[in-house]
């Protein structure tokens, strides 16, 4: 039983689900724009775009559309990994998944990939056209680089999401409540809308422990033109990779632990 077969099954499952729920498909495409519109309206009520450009170094439309895209990609992976066991429990599919001989780790690695691919493709309807409009051909190259870096950030987030999943389910109880608390925290700590360097020291330290936050910083440096040297880029990607390598075995153990715990208390029918 290969990973590719499991991945193919997940692709079929997610795409059938997404394409049959037109509202979900619409949100995939519209989300970065809706979020940007909302933020800009709030922003314009308090100040002007020129102040934002002066302080951050980039047009707010570019910044927020890109941020919305990055957030969708990274949190989408987190949501898939954290919510899927609950979703399967509610639907009654979990007993059949647990009683299948498939490798649980392979399965959970395959779960976020289909939606991530969709999000990355949706980058061509958000990040790329906006950058192309503002910066021309150079913007196109920049857009593609941002999509690739976002893909890395999202994949790296899978490791820490698996660790969180194991810890949450390990404590048992109503873990969906905990997920609802952790999600907005991650939103801040990733530094997508609120750059990492603006966080208080404790927040900065915690944020630096999340592999994806370093990739997000790299993307922001490209966007804002704040010291985007190759050396810094490689350093940020290197730190993120090291953290990813560190968390992955813990994430794998976490999934195994989750399954043991579920079977110990009895999989709900």
């Amino acid at each position: 039983m290969g990973f590719l077969d499991i991945l193919r099954a997940e692709l079929r499952f997610v795409y059938a689900d997404v394409f049959r729920r037109k509202s979900v498909l619409f949100m995939f495409i519209a989300y970065p724009y809706i979020l940007t519109l909302f933020i800009l309206l709030v922003g314009y009520s308090m100040g002007s775009a020129s102040v934002f450009v002066e302080r951050v170094g980039v047009d707010p439309a570019i910044f927020f559309i890109t941020s919305g895209f990055i957030l969708m990609a990274i949190l989408g992976v987190g949501d898939d990994i954290l919510w899927r066991p609950l979703f399967d429990e509610w639907l009654g599919t979990l007993p059949y998944i647990i009683s299948s001989p498939v490798s649980r780790v392979q399965h959970y690695i395959s779960i976020p990939i289909p939606r991530l691919l969709l999000v990355l493709v949706s980058g061509s309807t958000s990040v790329v056209p906006v950058l192309l409009y503002y910066y021309g051909l150079h913007g196109l190259v920049e857009g593609v680089a941002i999509i690739l870096l976002t893909a890395i950030a999202a994949i790296f987030f899978a490791s820490i999401a698996m660790v969180i999943m194991g810890v949450l389910y390990g404590f048992g109880g109503e873990h969906w409540r905990a997920i609802n608390v952790i999600r907005p925290l991650l939103l801040v700590l990733l530094g997508v809308y609120y750059p990492k360097y603006l966080l208080p020291l404790s927040g900065y330290i915690v944020s630096s422990l999340i592999p994806s936050s370093h990739i997000v910083e790299a993307i922001q440096r490209i966007l804002t033109g704040y010291n985007p040297s190759l050396q810094i880029m490689f350093m940020l990607i290197g730190v993120a990779t090291a953290l990813f390598i560190l968390y992955t075995p813990i994430g794998v153990k976490s999934i195994v632990y989750w399954e043991k715990r579920k079977v110990g208390e009895g999989v709900k029918i």
Binding site: I6, A9, L91, P95, I98, S99, P101
Partner: protein
């Protein structure tokens, strides 16, 4: 035929926290299984019968590796459900509840393709297997193959559930009330199929509340009550183990229920008088020797000027066995 499932002294206790007020909670302990042992051979359908909360589903969960026992061991095809869960999972087909367990936004075929991949099937092998099962369970005739699962009727859902259980053609089937709530044609279809599967060498562990079903589907029945197997045997053997009470069943026209109740007082060891929806009076009298009291029953009816619409003597049913052993009298509990 070799042993496919073997359970030795399974014990399981559930501890649940019950909230008592805002900050206090109390731990409730329920002994779901208390030393359950049994075996199922290839080519055999073994029914697990018992009242609600008797431990049927807990047993199925342990055998299907969805729950760890506190004590005892269970083996499927020689593999331990605790230590070799992955091997066990390759050998079992599972059907738990018929009304859920699939993805609503996928069609029947897509759902089977998804679970087929998790069971290690792919490509043309999976496709052919799905086509075969859709035909076998007549899901193709019902137009269910390419219909979304959320649009399925309960009968279709049950059939699809059985199709999933059979996807990898496993030697062992674990079916938890597969006909619960189904219309008669679907229930009959599934019962017939289960018998055919056993005939082809599969070992089937089957839970049901339906006595009629247990009698026609199961080769052997394990009656479980309060976490213990109280009696075991073929339906005929079980019926022979209860006091041989037979039932004189009479339907009376134009009778008065009160008068009849008064007239048959003291006849037989147990009596019941009821009015049927058609307005007839139904009399049921249990006795060890119907021949001896038949005359008294008839006299009590005809003597009051009533007409007998039908009269028959019934042998003990599996329901009698179930009631006998599920009560404290039979189970000793």
């Amino acid at each position: 035929m070799g042993v496919a499932i073997e359970a030795r002294g399974l014990w399981k206790t559930y501890r649940t926290k019950k909230r008592k007020g805002l900050f206090r909670s109390q731990v409730e302990v329920v002994e779901a299984l208390r030393g359950v042992s049994f075996h199922v051979r290839h080519g055999e359908v073994v029914g697990l019968l018992g009242p609600n909360g008797a431990g049927k589903t807990t047993t199925i969960k342990i055998v299907s590796t969805l729950l760890l026992p506190d004590k005892g061991e269970a083996f499927v095809e020689g593999y331990s459900v605790v230590r070799e869960a992955r091997e066990v999972r390759k050998c079992i087909g599972l059907l738990l509840t018929v009304e859920k367990g699939f993805y609503g936004k996928l069609t029947g075929r897509e759902n089977l393709e998804y679970f087929g991949a998790l069971y290690g099937l792919s490509g043309s092998v999976l496709k052919e297997r799905i086509d075969y099962l859709m035909k076998l369970l007549e899901l193709d005739k019902l137009g269910a193959v390419d219909r979304l699962f959320e649009e399925y009727s309960l009968g279709m859902k049950a059939r699809l559930g059985l199709a999933r259980a059979l996807l990898k053609d496993p030697p062992v089937l674990l079916l938890d009330e597969p006909t619960l709530g189904l219309d008669p044609p679907s229930a009959r279809k599934i019962r017939g199929l289960v018998r055919d599967l056993a005939r082809n060498g599969k070992a089937v562990l089957y839970t049901t509340h339906n006595m009629f079903e247990a009698e026609i589907v199961c080769d052997r029945i394990l009656l479980i009550n309060k976490g213990r197997i109280v009696v075991e045997g073929s339906p005929e053997e079980l019926k022979a183990r209860i006091p041989r009470l037979r039932t004189i069943a009479v339907l009376v026209k134009n009778g008065s229920r009160d008068v009849i109740e008064e007239s048959i007082k003291g006849i037989g060891v147990w009596r019941e008088v009821a009015t049927t929806p058609e307005g007839l009076i139904s009399i049921r009298v249990k006795t060890e020797n119907p021949e001896e009291i038949l005359h008294d029953v008839v006299k009590a009816i005809v003597g009051n000027g009533y007409t007998i619409a039908s009269l028959r003597v019934e042998e003990p049913t599996l329901e009698d066995v179930f009631i006998y052993f599920s009560t404290s009298e039979g189970s000793g509990g």
